[in-house]
Symmetry: none
Subunit: 201 residues, 4 copies
DNA sequence: GATGAATGAGAATTCATTCAT
DNA sequence: AATGAATGAATTCTCATTCAT
C-alpha cells in the first residue's frame, strides 16, 4: 500500500478532495476516453492543481483503477442487495434488471473503455474478470437458493449476465433506433426463464 | 473523397502496398491498442517508410477506419453466405456460430478496442452501428425466409446477436476458467431456439 | 541579514532545530547530491515540517551554504589547533594529515559536490576559495614559525594542500584498488619534506 | 548497443548533427552544470529540435556520457603521444604539463561537474576511474621505460597525476590571486623529479 | 513515388515554495 | 510557531506529421 510517494489523506477535507479526483477523473476518462483525458484535464475539472494528484495517486492509471473500484462497488452493492428469495421470480428478475440498468448508468461510457483497457492492462483485466466472476457466482448461489440446481448453471448464469448487460447498454445508449428497449426487456426476462426452466424438467 | 493530399493508388504495386498498410496496421492496433500502436510501428511492420503512409491515408485514424471496413467485409461475407434456407435449423445455427467464431478471430482483440473508440469517434461509431444493423436485419430476413414472423423479431435477433457475440468472446479468449465453452454453445443454441419458438406457437 | 522573511531563532529549542536542519540537510545533500536531495527529504530526516524550513532559510540553497560554514569550521578548527610548533616536523606532518583525513570524513562526498557547485554558484565559490586561502595562509604562517621562509612558500603550501587533499580522498574512498593508501601517506610526507627542504638549503 | 529506440546516424549530415549535439550539449553541461542544462537548452544551442535528440540518445545522461568519451579521447591522445623516451626528462615533463593544461581546457568546468557526478552516477564513476587508471598506468610504464623501477611507483605516479591536475586547474581558472602559476609549475616539476629520484638512490 | 530524418506541440511528472489552518 | 496540503512552473520525453532529398 505504502510506496513512499503517495499518501493517504487523513483530514476530512483531503479525503473529499481525493474522492473528488477519483469521481471527476473517472467520469472524464469515461466520457472522453482514457487516453484523451490528461492529468491537467482531471485537475482542472476537479478544481485542484496537477501536483496534488500525484500526492494521492501514483499516476493517471492509478486514478482509473481507483474509479473502477469505487464504481464497481456502486454497481454491485445494490444489485446484490436485490438478490433475496422471492415468491415471484419473474418480478424479482425485472427488478434486478432495473437495478442493473441504474448501476450501469453510473459507469456510462466507461464500460467500453474499460473493456478495451482489459486487453492491454493486466490490472484492469484482473478487476473486470473479478467483477464478472463475483457477479456470476453470486447469481448462481442465488439461483441455488431458489432451488435451481444443474451442472451447467455457471454457464447459464454467465449467458444471462451477458444478456442483461447488453440489454442495459441498449437501454442506456439507445444505439439502435429500430429496437424497442421495453420489448427487449420482456424478451430477456422470458428468455432467462426459459434458460432456467430447461433444467427444472 | 479527394482531399488534395492523399491519393488513390492506381498501380497494382501501390494497391498492394496500401492494403498491406491497412492489414498490418489494423492488426497491430487491435493487438496493442490504438494508442499504443505508433505510425512507426505500422510502417516497420508493413515494410514501408513512415512518409508513404501519409500518401495513402490522411492520418492514423484513417488507417483504423480502413481496417474496420476491410475486416468488416471479411466478417460479414462468409457469415451471410451461410444463412441459406435449411431443413435442419439447429444444424444451421451451429454452423453460423462456428462461422462467427472464425470471423471474430479475425478481429481478435479489436472488438473491444473498436467498441471503446465507438464512444468517442463518430466515424467508428457509425460504422459499428451499421455493422450491427446489417447483421441484425440480415438475420431477421433470414428468419422470415424460414417462416418465423413476429413483431419483435428485430429485438429477438439483436438479443441473439449479442448472445452469440459473447459466446464467441468466451470461446476465443477463454477468460473465465470456470466456464465450459462447449456447454455454453449448446445452451446458446437451445436458448436461441427457445427465443424463436416462443413465437411459433 | 534580515530580509523580512527568515528569522533568527532566539529560543534554545529553535536554535537546535535550525542546527538540526543544517546538519541533516547538508549531510543528505553531500550523500545524495544537491539536486537529488529534496526539501521534503531534509524535513523528514530532520523531523520537522517542510514549512518550518522556510522560516529559518530563504531557500534550499541557503541550507547548503549554512552547512558549508558549519562544517568548514568543524574542519578548520581542529586542523589549526594541530599546527603548533614542534620539535619533530615529520611527526607533526603525519599528525596533520590524520587530522585532515578525519576532517574530510566529515564532508564525505561533499567535497566533489561542493566543488561542482563552485562552478555555477558564486556564493559557494567564494566560500570554498576563502577556505582554501585561510588554510594555505595558515599553513604558510606555521611554516614561517618553523623557520621556513622563501618567496614561493604560498605556492609550495598550496601544492602541499592539494597533495594532502587527494591523499585524503584516496584513503577515505579507496577508489583505486591498486593503490596502497599507507604507502601513499609515506610518499606524501617525504615529498612535503622535499618540497620544503629545498628551501632550507 | 541497439536498444530499439535510438539509432546510429548513417549519413554524413546526421553524423555531424549527432556530434554537434554531443559537443554543444556537453559544453553547455560543463558551463551551466548538468542539472541546470535542459534538453531544450541543448536542442536550441545545437540548432536542432528536442525530438531529434531522442533519436540519437536515450536521455540527457546519455549525451553527457558521450561527451565524456569524446573529450576523454581528446585529452588522452595528445598526452600519450608526448610520453616518448627523451634525453631531457625535465624538458619532457614540462612539455607533458603543457599538453595536459591544453587537454584540461577542453574539459573546462566539466572536471568538477564530472567529479561530483562520479559520486552518484555509476557510469560516470566507472569512466573517470578508468581514465585515471589508464593515465596512471601509462605514466608508470613510461617511467619504467625511462629506467625508473620501484615497488611504490603506482602510488608515486598517482600522486604526480594529482599534483599535475591541480596545477592545471590553478593555471586554467587562476582561482587564487596570490598564487603564481609559473612558479607553481616549476615547483611541481622539481617535486616530481624529487618524488622519482628518491628511488634512484 | 519513396524515404526516414526532423519537427514541435503536447503529455506526464516533479518539487521548491507558499499558505490556510 | 508549526504543519503539511496544495500549488504550478518547469522539465523530460513521445510521436503524429511534414519535408528535404
Amino acid at each position: 500500500m505504502e510506496n513512499g510517494k503517495t499518501r493517504e489523506p487523513q483530514q476530512k477535507r483531503s479525503i473529499e478532495k481525493k474522492n473528488k479526483i477519483i469521481e471527476t477523473g473517472f467520469t472524464l476518462m469515461c466520457e472522453k476516453g482514457y487516453q484523451k483525458t490528461t492529468t491537467a484535464d482531471i485537475a482542472k475539472a476537479a478544481g485542484v492543481s496537477t501536483g496534488i494528484i500525484y500526492s494521492y495517486f501514483q499516476d493517471k492509471h492509478d486514478i482509473f483503477i481507483a474509479g473502477l473500484r469505487l464504481f464497481g462497488d456502486k454497481l454491485l452493492t445494490p444489485m446484490f442487495a436485490t438478490l433475496t428469495p422471492s415468491v415471484d421470480f419473474r418480478e424479482a428478475l425485472s427488478h434486478i434488471i432495473d437495478i442493473l440498468i441504474e448501476g450501469h448508468k453510473v459507469f456510462g461510457n466507461a464500460h467500453k473503455e474499460i473493456e478495451a483497457l482489459t486487453m492491454t492492462d493486466p490490472e484492469v483485466s484482473a478487476f473486470i474478470l473479478e467483477l464478472e466472476d463475483v457477479t456470476t457466482k453470486r447469481l448462481v448461489s442465488f439461483l441455488n437458493e431458489e432451488g435451481i440446481v444443474c451442472d451447467d448453471l455457471l454457464e447459464r448464469a454467465h449467458i444471462i449476465y451477458n444478456m442483461v448487460e447488453s440489454l442495459c447498454h441498449e437501454i442506456i445508449f439507445h444505439n439502435h433506433e429500430y429496437l424497442d428497449a421495453h420489448r427487449m426487456k420482456d424478451i430477456v426476462i422470458e428468455t432467462v426463464l426459459a434458460i432456467l426452466q430447461v433444467k427444472e424438467k
